[in-house]
Amino acid sequence: MRPCFIPKKRSRPMKKVLIAVLTAFALSATTVAFAADVKSNEKDECLLASKGCKDQVDSIQQKIKKINVEIKKGKKVYSAEELKKLQQKLKEADEILNSLDKPGR
């Protein structure tokens, strides 16, 4: 009788391992999605709405470059309202750089 129970008892850890592996895969897939560069036909939600910015640390110069790349995608990817928002973000980033560089005492 006892050997019959062994497979059943072992099946639960297997399922847990499977769930854990799938969860880890799901998490890693999410992380990859965050870290990957935004494709030419996709919106950059981090720049646009501060969403999905996990693990992203840009210098101010990189940020300006990225915004310019997104603006160049134009109306094929972004709505007029969203483009306006990106322009505003570019202005803000320029302001930060100017403020850091500002001469004087």
Binding site: K16, A26, A49, S50, S59, I96, P103
Partner: protein, 473 residues
């Protein structure tokens, strides 16, 4: 799937969401810069740029070139100054953020240590209390298309910063309706009520701003602004030649009610960009009725592999000290230095230097130029040589608009011509975000300075050379 496994999967999914949510809820931005520069000069950090007896001379000069009564030859200064700025922005969403910026300066290596002194702390041992708070303000899109900034923020005029460009406390609302961008704001520069009659808000130095920009076409932008300066605080007189005691600049009760109206425009046609402005000031400045004005024209033109640029600036001046005045008004702080600056002329000595930090001296340090006004023409060429190396060269020619015997009481200057500057720079990108530069400048002094040095001699021509390392992130 069994219930327990479903719960396990949901818990795992919940964990994943919880781990992601904080990044969506609060975005932390951290930026900064570091700049260190070696200066060799008979101008910056030398006797001709420090007012005698002023404690601010410990800053490597006191903003203004004053060779009057000084020996003809001055020793050249050799020193290194450095600066770091750190900025943190807490962004709750794309519509709400807190912006902060802090600054740590060393006026020159070896200045002092273990004490409390802004812009100092580079003597052996360090440990100086010297951190400065530059900006703390809220930036919020409070309604659709309405942005509000509230607190201590950087703000400048729409006229190449010739009237104000500083960190200032106030509130500003701006918007954007299609091609029209209006701004309304209020700023408090000084409140000295506490030292006079213990009533805050009673004796203040304030600015009211109404500004509008309109994009007529993609190539043509026009703008108009109205500013109202109301100053009845104890501050320095913006048009007087500064007087100092051992505590620094002397402040006196002011009475300024000045309306300012300005127009600006920018037009682009292929490789050519033209811009310019006109400003009219009308009102009273310390009992003198005042009508002052400024005119500017600028051009940038892509020529060959580089870009040429030219600038012209006229600021009205006044030769008298009584009656109606044409002296131009601009904003100062209470330690005696300008809170405005004209940098488009790309000068190092003749005008304010874009690389200046604590040591920040010029022949024309202020727009009004102590009531004398200014007339200047400037040309330059920027030439990028490789992806990493860029160069530039400039020349400037400047005079005062009116001789009011500033710095030489009771005696006119030999001429209104201040001098001719030539300068050149090379910038090399050592690493991404780290640039090293060399910039040298030389001024052929005009006859304004003829015979003004000790014993009626003429001061030697000033020069300045810098080697700069700059990192920004």
């Amino acid at each position: 799937m069994k219930r327990s496994n479903v719960l396990a999967a949901l818990a795992a999914l919940g964990l994943a969401v919880a781990a992601t949510t904080p990044a969506m809820a609060l975005e932390n931005e951290f930026h900064g810069m570091f700049q260190a520069q070696y200066i060799n000069s008979n101008f910056n950090g030398a006797a001709t740029t420090s007012f005698p007896g002023n404690n601010a001379a410990s800053y490597g000069g006191d903003t203004q070139y004053v060779p009057f009564g000084q020996p003809k030859h001055v020793y050249s200064a050799n020193f290194v100054e450095q600066r770091a700025r750190l900025g943190y922005t807490a962004k709750a969403s794309s519509d709400l953020k807190l912006v902060t910026q802090f600054e740590l300066d060393y006026a020159y290596w070896g200045d002092s240590s273990y004490g409390t002194h802004r812009n100092h702390g580079a003597a052996i041992g360090a440990d100086q209390t010297n951190i400065e708070t530059k900006n703390i303000y809220l930036d919020a899109n409070i309604f659709k298309d309405v942005n509000m900034r509230l607190g201590m923020m950087p703000y400048n005029d729409s006229f190449k910063s010739i009237m104000f460009d500083a960190d200032m406390a106030g509130i500003a609302f701006s918007s954007s309706y299609n091609k029209f961008t209006p701004t309304v704001g209020f700023f408090r520069f000084n409140d000295t009520g506490n030292s006079k009659d213990n009533v805050l808000g009673h004796m203040t130095n304030d600015l009211f701003v109404l500004d509008g920009k309109y994009e007529v076409t993609k190539d043509l932008k026009v703008g108009a602004a109205y500013y109202f300066f109301r100053n009845n605080a104890n501050t320095i007189d913006s048009n007087a030649v500064f007087t100092f005691n051992t505590d620094g600049a002397i402040t006196t009760p002011q009475d300024v009610k000045l309306h300012v109206l300005g127009l600006n425009a920018e037009y682009t046609a292929g490789p050519l960009t033209l811009n310019g402005f006109g400003i009219l000031q009308a009102g009273t400045v310390n009992t003198r009725s005042t009508t002052a004005y400024a005119l500017n024209a600028g051009a940038k033109y892509k020529v060959g592999p580089g870009r040429a640029h030219a600038e012209f600036l006229y600021v009205s001046g006044d030769s008298g000290t009584t009656g109606h005045s044409n002296a131009f008004y601009a904003v100062f702080n209470n330690v005696g230095s300008a809170e405005h600056g004209y940098y488009d002329n790309e000068m190092v000595i003749l005008g304010r230097d874009k690389n200046a930090m604590t040591t920040d001296n010029s022949i024309i340090a202020t727009a009004g130029n102590f009531g004398q006004g200014q007339i200047g023409g400037y040309i330059g060429y920027e030439l990028p040589l490789t992806d990493r190396l860029s160069t530039a060269a400039n020349a400037g020619f400047a005079a005062v608009a009116k001789d009011n015997q500033a710095f030489t009481p009771g005696k006119n200057h030999k001429s209104n011509y201040l001098g001719t500057e030539i300068n050149a720079e090379a910038n090399y990108k050592l690493l991404e975000n780290l640039t090293t530069s060399v910039r040298v400048a030389y001024v052929f002094l005009g006859d304004y300075y003829k015979g003004v040095a000790l014993n009626g001699e003429t001061p030697v021509n000033p020069y300045d050379a810098k080697i700069i390392f700059k990192y920004a992130f």
